[in-house]
Symmetry: C2
Amino acid sequence: MVVGGKGRGATLADVARAANVSPSTASRALNDSPLIPDATKAIVREAARKQNYRVNTTARNLRRQTSSTVALVLPADPESGQMVSDPFFLDILGAVADALQEKKYDLLLSTTGAHPDRWFEDFIMSRRADGLIVIGQAHHADALEQLAGEGAPVVVWGAAATGLPYCSVGSDNLAGGDIATSHLLALGRRHIAFLGDTDLPEVALRYEGYRRALAAQGLSADPALLSRTPFTREGGAAAINRLADSGTRFDAVFATSDLLAMSAIQSLQARGIGVPQDVSVVGYDDIQMAAHYSPALTTISQNIALGGTLLVNKLMDLMAGQPAGTDVLEPRLIIRQSCGSPVMSGGTAPAGDRA
Amino acid sequence: MVVGGKGRGATLADVARAANVSPSTASRALNDSPLIPDATKAIVREAARKQNYRVNTTARNLRRQTSSTVALVLPADPESGQMVSDPFFLDILGAVADALQEKKYDLLLSTTGAHPDRWFEDFIMSRRADGLIVIGQAHHADALEQLAGEGAPVVVWGAAATGLPYCSVGSDNLAGGDIATSHLLALGRRHIAFLGDTDLPEVALRYEGYRRALAAQGLSADPALLSRTPFTREGGAAAINRLADSGTRFDAVFATSDLLAMSAIQSLQARGIGVPQDVSVVGYDDIQMAAHYSPALTTISQNIALGGTLLVNKLMDLMAGQPAGTDVLEPRLIIRQSCGSPVMSGGTAPAGDRA
DNA sequence: AGGATTTATGCAATCGATTGCCAACGGCTG
DNA sequence: CAGCCGTTGGCAATCGATTGCATAAATCCT
């Protein structure tokens, strides 16, 4: 009404004038300062509403010496140039966005493209952001350490290794590997194939958890059951075929990603091996499709929403000058149908057979 | 060095002092103004470099009456509260981020949560963003129209319907349906089942393209072959089973999402129907897994990178006060193995059988 | 009632960079 | 030598909101 599509919006001075008070009073009234009596606040607020006033964030930030903004850095895959393929990245993003919104912070998004090094620094120094959230520390590890060493507010989402100089949040891959394996063991499975690329730190930890669970039952990991497979190929199929052809006997598969698990299930079925009747399969990630696959995937899920909140809370602590440590998220076992757990609809009880 | 982790950064005044010039001259020098001789520029730049100076974006934006920022609005699914499940959303995001970075714009990300209505307005009015990119117009259609009507710079990614009051970019679903269907027809298929929820505008258009392709061959769409299925369930399986049980004869399936296609393929195989030998299946979206499925999915792909660039360019036009229309992206047929195209490895030529 | 508080409000400086306008200076021409 | 022009660079206002300090008004206390 008052403001045309192109014209300037109303300023605080306009509101003050309309309310017959000074800009100072108007500012304080709109910020709910205790210095201003309720009656005056009401008048000012009404004037602001009538003029459709919105505070000019830029001016406020300049005066307040803050940006009320957090930058989220999303590394593009250096090889393909594509976005990070982490299946739940979008969910982290959503969780972080929500947590920040609640704290009245804006979320600035950037991909690491142009400046390989100076990049991080720039954001803080140019006051475009008060803090940084970095997704995945793999690349830039050195830049991160330096930045954190300088006391910049930075938190990292990624594999939660101990002894990092910067503050990070990630899921406990060791525990994840353990509970997945333990679940299979509890179902009576004893020969559990492990699918995944143990060169990746996350996967290596999951394997460690796999071994721990076996050890808890007095079993040891059979190297023949470890199938090192990259994530992105039709690796699941190849791995299963290799395993089956080699004659190695197995009655369960722990796939370190849901994609691998689905791929593996297909190969098994193609060979006439029933899932979960003959072989139990557990995945990792709990991607959206996991619930809609058939058989629905039993898999390891992570509390992403909590992760987002933790990231934000840690960053807030850092920005307030308080120290913040590294946190680890507990993974959770989601029981569906691909393992034939007795918990599920009684139809497919686990057969006693073993490969 | 000069600046401790917590201390303030150097200001323009500091640089000017160090270079023995006035702030005005320093500013002009750093902005490469023709008013300043090269010699002076060099001195100022050197001083800035030494002090590790970064322009204070907030101050600049206030003075320049701009935010050099574009807000990208990501609607959360109103039901699940989860993020939009569009499989290539992340790629759009990446493309938009890159395009904006090139134009020196920042990308502010937000989910539509708190303010259902006023939300969009807020961003522009509070000067946190100069323009808006909205992903998916389905919800908020009314708010968008109003906003665009007021002349706000807004572009929308979504179904490119004609006659919209706001500027949008999206893929040509009509053409997509056409080329998918035409491909199946070219392979000799004549009874093509259509899987998808025609209540969604995108899907409705794809169905329209399906009918157009059939009509071009003198055929008409058989209503019995239309299976209205929601995207997110195990709809593919249910639809196939329903279709097969009803005795309707079909030799091909056009699934309007890759997830549906995969689900459908599984059901077909479970019934002993070969893909692509007995039934050809074409999907839609070309999600990452499509290439890794077996059989690898023939599907419809969209030029996301181009879409991102178009969105940004349109928005720049709007922000410059120039009009910008709606653009349509041409979808592309990706031929893999699920249709048994003769183009692929000659092993599986389409059999002449029809269900 | 008169000084002491408390309450309500305004003045003016400030955040840091940008930019219109003007001044100083050197060189050049007539 | 006076006048003019082009170059170089500084002064000061500006963007809009916030806030320390001060003042005016109202209330209180003995």
